[in-house]
C-alpha cells in the first residue's frame, strides 16, 4: 500500500482526536459535568479511522450508541460535538440529541443511534440512494458484536444482497455487548464475518486495533464495492478500553485483561510502530499532533462549558418541518 505523509498525518490526527476526546470525557463525566449515558469509543480508533479515511462527504455512514469515534472520523465538528454532549444549545444537534444521537447529514454522517441494530437497514437505504446517484458512492453501517444478533442487521444484509446495492457492513467486534461475551451471544463463537458470508456477500477480516491493517483491507473492500456495486462486509477485531457505559465496573473482564489490551492493542501505539509510519513520519510530528489535539480538546471543553444552554421555550422546535 502506498501511503502519503499527508494521509498518515491526517489519520493519526483523527485517531488522536478520538482518543483524547474520549479520555477527556471520561474525566469530565467522573466529575459529574456531563448528563446522560455515554459510551466511549476509546480503543477502537483504528476501526473508525481506517474505514472513514477512504470516504468523502458523499459517502454515508450510519453509526451506533458508541458513535463519537465514527463522528470524528467522518469529519463532524469536534467542538460542536463537545457542546452537544454537554447539552448546549450550540451543540451540533442543538443539545437535543446528546452523546447517543449526534449526526451531521451534510457530511454524510447519518447519525449515532440508541437502538442497537437500527442503523443497518438505514445504510441499505442510503446505498439505494448511492446507487441511484450512480457515482460509485457507498453507504456504511457500523455495528457491534452485540448488534449482529439483532434481526434488523440480518434483514439488512439479506436485502442489500437481494436488491444489490453498495452497502457495507462493518462489524466492530470488541468482544462484549454490554456485559455479555461475544463467544456466548454470537452463536458461531465469535465469528461474525461468516454470517455475512452466508448471505452471499464477500467478506473481509482485519485487526481493527491496527490502522494500517484496517485501512489496507478496507481499500480492497472498497475497490470491490465501488466497482461492482455489490454489498460487502468486514469484521474488525478490536477492543474497548472503558466500560460499556461510563460507570460500568467491568467485572466481567478477566484479571489483567484491560492492562494487556492497553498494552498490546492500543491503536495509537501500534500506529507509531508500523513500518510505513516510521518510514514517512518523525515521532516528533506525531507528538506535535498530540499537543495540537490536546489544545483542541481543551478548547472544546472550555467552549462547551461556557456555551449557551437550551431554553425550555425551544422544546418544540424541529419536531416537524411544518405542522
Amino acid at each position: 500500500m502506498d501511503y502519503t505523509r499527508e494521509g498518515l498525518l491526517r489519520a493519526y490526527r483523527r485517531m488522536a482526536t478520538i482518543r483524547q476526546f474520549e479520555e477527556r470525557l471520561h474525566e469530565e463525566i467522573a466529575k459529574g459535568e456531563i448528563p446522560g449515558f455515554t459510551h466511549l469509543y476509546c480503543g477502537q480508533e483504528a476501526a473508525a479511522v481506517g474505514v472513514c479515511e477512504h470516504l468523502d462527504e458523499a459517502d454515508k455512514i450510519v453509526s451506533t450508541h458508541r458513535g463519537h469515534g465514527h463522528c470524528i472520523a467522518k469529519g463532524c465538528d469536534v467542538i460542536g460535538m463537545m457542546k452537544e454532549i454537554y447539552g448546549s444549545r450550540e451543540g451540533l444537534c442543538k443539545g437535543r440529541g446528546g452523546s447517543m444521537h449526534i449526526a451531521d447529514t451534510s457530511i454524510g454522517m447519518l447519525g449515532a443511534n440508541g437502538i442497537v441494530g437500527a442503523g443497518a437497514p438505514q445504510a441499505v437505504g442510503a446505498a439505494i440512494a448511492a446507487k441511484a446517484a450512480g457515482e460509485g458512492k457507498v453507504a456504511i453501517a457500523f455495528s457491534g458484536d452485540g448488534a449482529c444478533n439483532q434481526g434488523t442487521t440480518f434483514e439488512a444484509m439479506n436485502m442489500a444482497v437481494v436488491i444489490d446495492v453498495p452497502a457495507i457492513f462493518v462489524f466492530e467486534n470488541n468482544h462484549y455487548s454490554e456485559h455479555t461475551g461475544d463467544s456466548y451471544a454470537v452463536a458461531t463463537g465469535n465469528d461474525i464475518a461468516s454470517r455475512a458470508e452466508a448471505f452471499g456477500m464477500k467478506v473481509w477480516r482485519a485487526n481493527g486495533s491496527d490502522f494500517h491493517a484496517t485501512y489496507e483491507t478496507m481499500a480492497k473492500l472498497l475497490d470491490y464495492v465501488r466497482q461492482t456495486g455489490h454489498p460487502a462486509a468486514i469484521e474488525l477485531d478490536t477492543e474497548r478500553f472503558y466500560g460499556h457505559f461510563e460507570g460500568d465496573p467491568q467485572r466481567y473482564r478477566a484479571k489483567g485483561e484491560l492492562d494487556r489490551i492497553r498494552d498490546e492493542r492500543d491503536a495509537l501505539k501500534t500506529f507509531r510502530k508500523a513500518p510505513s509510519t516510521r518510514e514517512l513520519l518523525e515521532e516528533g510530528e506525531l507528538d506535535a499532533i498530540d499537543k495540537q489535539v490536546a489544545e483542541l480538546i481543551d478548547r472544546a471543553v472550555e467552549e462547551a462549558r461556557g456555551a449557551a444552554r437550551c431554553d425550555p421555550s425551544q422544546i418544540d422546535e424541529d419536531v416537524y418541518a411544518a405542522y
Binding site: K60, V62, E84, G91, L92, C93, K94, G95, R96, G97, H101, A103, D104, T105, S106, L110, G111, N113, G114, I115, A118, A120, P121, Q122, A123, V124, G125, A126, A127, I128, A129, A130, K131, A132, A139, G151, T152, E155, A156, N158, M159, V162, I163, E317, D318, V319, Y320, A321, A322, Y323
Partner: protein, 336 residues
Amino acid sequence: MTVMNVRDAINQTIHEAMERDPSVILLGEDVAGGAGTAGGQEAIGGIWGTSTGLVGKFGPERVIDTPISESAIVGAAAGAALSGMRPIAELMFADFIGVCGDQLINQIAKFRYMFGGNARCPVVIRLIYGAGMNAAAQHSQAFYNLLTAIPGLKVALPTTPADAKGLMNEALHGDDPVMFFEHKALYGRKGEVPDGLHRVPFGHARMAREGGDVTIVALGRMVSFAEKAADKLAADGIGCDIIDPRTTSPLDEEAILDSVEQTGRLVVVDESPPRCSVASDIGALVAQKAFTSLDAPPELVTAPHTPIPFAPELERAYVPGPPAIEAAVRRTLDWG
C-alpha cells in the same frame, strides 16, 4: 376532474409523482410482483392493485420488490430519505407496524428533532388497514392511534379518491414522515378526482356534511357509515355535521370545536378499540376546549376492547356501524 376509485387515484398519484420527481421510489413486498420468477416482474403489481404498471414504467431500481423484512423496508426508506430521496414504502397490512415499529417510532419520527433540525426524512409509509374482509385479528387492525401518539409523525387517513390523491401529493411535497393509512374496504370507492397536482393540506378537515344539530367526527371508513346514519336521522329532521379529519396528526381542532360550539353534541366514530384511541383523544379535546358548549356527554362509538374476530357475525359486531352511530346521536340528543 375524472371519476375513479381510491385504488386508481393512489396508483395515478404515484405514477405522476415518479414521473415528476426522480427521487421518488417505491419499495415493499410484491409492489412490482414476480421478482425472481419465470412470470417476471409486473406479474402482479401489488396485491392491492395500487402499484400496477409502475415497474414497467420506472424499472426495478425504483419500484423495488423486497424480501419479507418490514424493518429493513422501513429502515431502508429512512436511510434513503436521509440521503435525499423521497421513498414510499408499503406495509401490505398496517398490522405489521409491530414488526417494524422501531423504525417508525424511534427512527423516522425522531431524526429531525434529535439531530437538531439537521436532517430531513420525508418518507411516506403506506399502511393498508381496517376490518371488513374477515381477515381476523392480525390483518384487520386500525392502528392509526398508535402512530398518532408519536410526536414527529404525521398521520393521514383519506376516505375519498380526491383526498387520497391530494394527501399523497401533499405528503410527497412536505419534508416530514407521513403515515398514510389506506382502508382496504375503501379502495373501490369512487369519486371525482381533480387532474394535475392536486394537493390537500394536512390538518384541514373535510366537512362531509353540514346539519347543525350534532357533530359527528368520523375516521376513515366510518365516514360513510356516519353518512348512512345521518341519512336516517335526516328523515326525522335531525341534521348532522359530519367531519372527516383526513389527518389525525395534525388534527384540525378548530373544525371540530367550531362545530361543537354550534351543536353542543359530539359523537366520535372510530374503528379502533376504545382505549387510548383517536376517539378518546378527540373526546378529551372537546371536553377540555369546548366544555361550556357541550350539552351532553361526548359519545364515543368505537370497536370493543377485543381483538378482531374472524367469524362474519362477530366482525360485523366488532366494526361500528350505522345503527350504533344513529343510536349514539339519538342518545346525545335525548340527553338530560
